[in-house]
């Protein structure tokens, strides 16, 4: 772990080569389960708890969703590899924003992710509660 200039804490979680495009994995970051996602080369991290009913959000499938064609009737597959569906009830979240598709006011907790010298870091806020007693 390192402490940034503004006091946030960076926690190394894996090597960048372990997160190829399309990758989805869950890591433990100081006592909290965090899902890591590589969407077309960009990395995202979400807290593994669905804001709907508390299910394991990040164990759900990483898929796409639909929008409609100009005729307004034909479903068109969209945002492939960006939409995380909760493992319990299937609510859809865009991993790049953490927002629920059905209601963007509902947000999954997201964390900034940084890659430094080939290592992936999840950035915790300075006031993030310490969940891991051994940390």
């Amino acid at each position: 772990m390192s402490v940034g200039a503004s006091g946030e804490r960076r926690v190394r979680v894996c090597a960048a080569r372990e997160l190829e495009p399309g990758a989805q994995r869950i890591v433990s970051v100081r006592g909290r389960e965090v899902g890591l996602f590589n969407v077309a080369g960009d990395l995202y991290a979400l807290h593994d708890r669905c804001p709907h009913r508390g299910g394991s959000l990040c164990r759900g499938p990483l898929t796409g969703t639909t929008t409609t064609d100009e005729d307004g009737r034909t479903p068109v597959y969209d945002r492939a590899g960006r939409i995380l569906r909760c493992s319990w009830h299937g609510w859809e979240f865009d991993v790049t924003t953490g927002r629920a598709l059905v209601d963007p006011r509902i947000r999954a907790r997201t964390y900034p992710v940084e890659v430094v010298d080939g290592d992936v870091y999840v950035v915790l806020r300075r006031d993030e509660p310490r969940l891991d007693p051994d940390a």
Binding site: G54, G55, R59, P61, R85, S87, W88, H89
Partner: protein, 364 residues
């Protein structure tokens, strides 16, 4: 806490082979199957869940479908929520109701029940109770199966699908009610069997989308409730209870209001009834909670639940491991209902003994 809808599954329908008579075994082993070698013979509903209907975190690490791994079931449900009892409802077995060959359907139901005894009720886990699945299109065969295993202490109800050829109060089914009454088991209908032999589950014709159809599946529950009341099932078999599983709840008050109103004018059609339809429902019909309706204002839900005395008629159910699972700590029940809905109503219905050390003195 007692969970009244837990789906235990086989890893492959071929697990039933040892329990089948030679002819039925040959059909399962060599005959046509709807989904490949490991699939269970049944007619599938024409609405396919676009994401699959299982909780995706419930896939066993060693393979097989969700609900087939007892260890994972313990981890995700029985131990996690400290259940006192789980009422197993099987998974595909109730789909025998979709098969046109009633004798084969009953053979599969018998095999499934024997498999349930060997595979689940013999685990030595006293939290588990099971449902005796029968093929309702074969009333005589169903009655025989109820009499074959109805006295087994592990089975606490007779189970059929909510999809049916006709509503369950119809005299066609009376051999089933008679046998269930004889062995002292309630009869339950679980959401399912929405295809094949069974009448169309939606009154005005087929919906298009899965969720559209799913939201409307309370219709089958409505039909059965009206039927069992109007046909006087609870006059003919006064100790009988009818359980609706996974058909929703909040529609029931409106249906009972309508039945009561019409009965007052037209009771001459059903002179065997001696009470209002809503009074039979209160005393004889129980509903599982999942999927409990979830309006933005919970007062709206509570008004509906109070209208059917939900405190005494609702049974908590999770539907583990399916996609619309209701965790016990997320239910929006009225204050003071927890003890009864989360356990005591099921205990009374199924005659489940209280374990030493558990809380006592529950207010009625």
């Amino acid at each position: 806490m007692i969970d009244c809808d837990v789906h235990n599954s086989w890893a492959s329908a071929r697990e039933l082979l040892p329990y089948l008579d030679p002819y039925s075994r040959d059909c399962l082993e060599r005959g046509e199957l709807p989904g490949g070698r490991d699939s269970f013979p049944h007619a599938h509903r024409p609405w396919l869940h676009p994401e699959g209907f299982e909780r995706t975190d419930a896939v066993p690490p060693g393979g097989g479908p969700p609900g087939s791994d007892y260890g994972l079931m313990c981890e995700q449900l029985l131990d996690r929520y400290d259940l006192e009892y789980a009422i197993l409802t099987g998974d595909e077995a109730i789909e025998v109701s979709t098969l046109a060959n009633a004798a084969f359907a009953s053979a599969l139901a018998r095999a499934s029940n024997s498999w349930t005894i060997d595979r689940w009720l013999s685990l030595g886990d006293d939290r588990l109770r099971a449902s005796l699945v029968v093929a309702p299109q074969d009333p005589a065969g169903a009655a025989a199966e109820i009499r074959r295993l109805g006295d087994h202490p592990g089975f606490v109800q007779v189970l059929v699908s909510s999809g049916a050829q006709r509503p369950y109060g119809d005299p066609f089914y009376w051999p089933i009610w008679d046998a269930a009454a004889e062995v002292g088991l309630p009869v339950a209908a679980h959401l399912g069997g929405q295809g094949g032999l069974n009448a169309h589950p939606h009154g005005c014709g087929p919906p298009t989308f899965f969720y559209e159809a799913h939201a409307l599946l309370c219709e089958t529950g409505m039909g059965h409730v009206a039927s069992v009341i109007c046909h006087g099932i609870f006059e003919r078999w006064p100790s009988m209870r009818f359980v609706l599983i996974e058909c929703g709840v909040a529609w029931l008050p409106a249906l009972l209001w309508r039945l009561d109103a019409d009965y007052k004018a037209l009771r001459k059609e059903t002179p065997w009834l001696r009470r209002l339809p809503s009074e039979y429902a209160r005393d004889h019909i129980r509903l599982s909670t999942q999927p409990l309706e979830d309006p933005p204002d919970r007062a709206h839900l509570h008004a509906a639940l109070e209208a059917i005395d939900g405190r005494h008629t609702l049974l908590y159910a999770s539907d583990y491991p399916h996609w619309d699972f209701d965790a016990p700590d997320t239910l929006k029940l009225p204050a003071g209902w927890q003890e009864r809905v989360m356990g005591e109503n099921a205990r009374d219905l199924y005659g489940l003994t209280r374990r030493a050390g558990d809380a006592v003195a529950v207010p009625a």
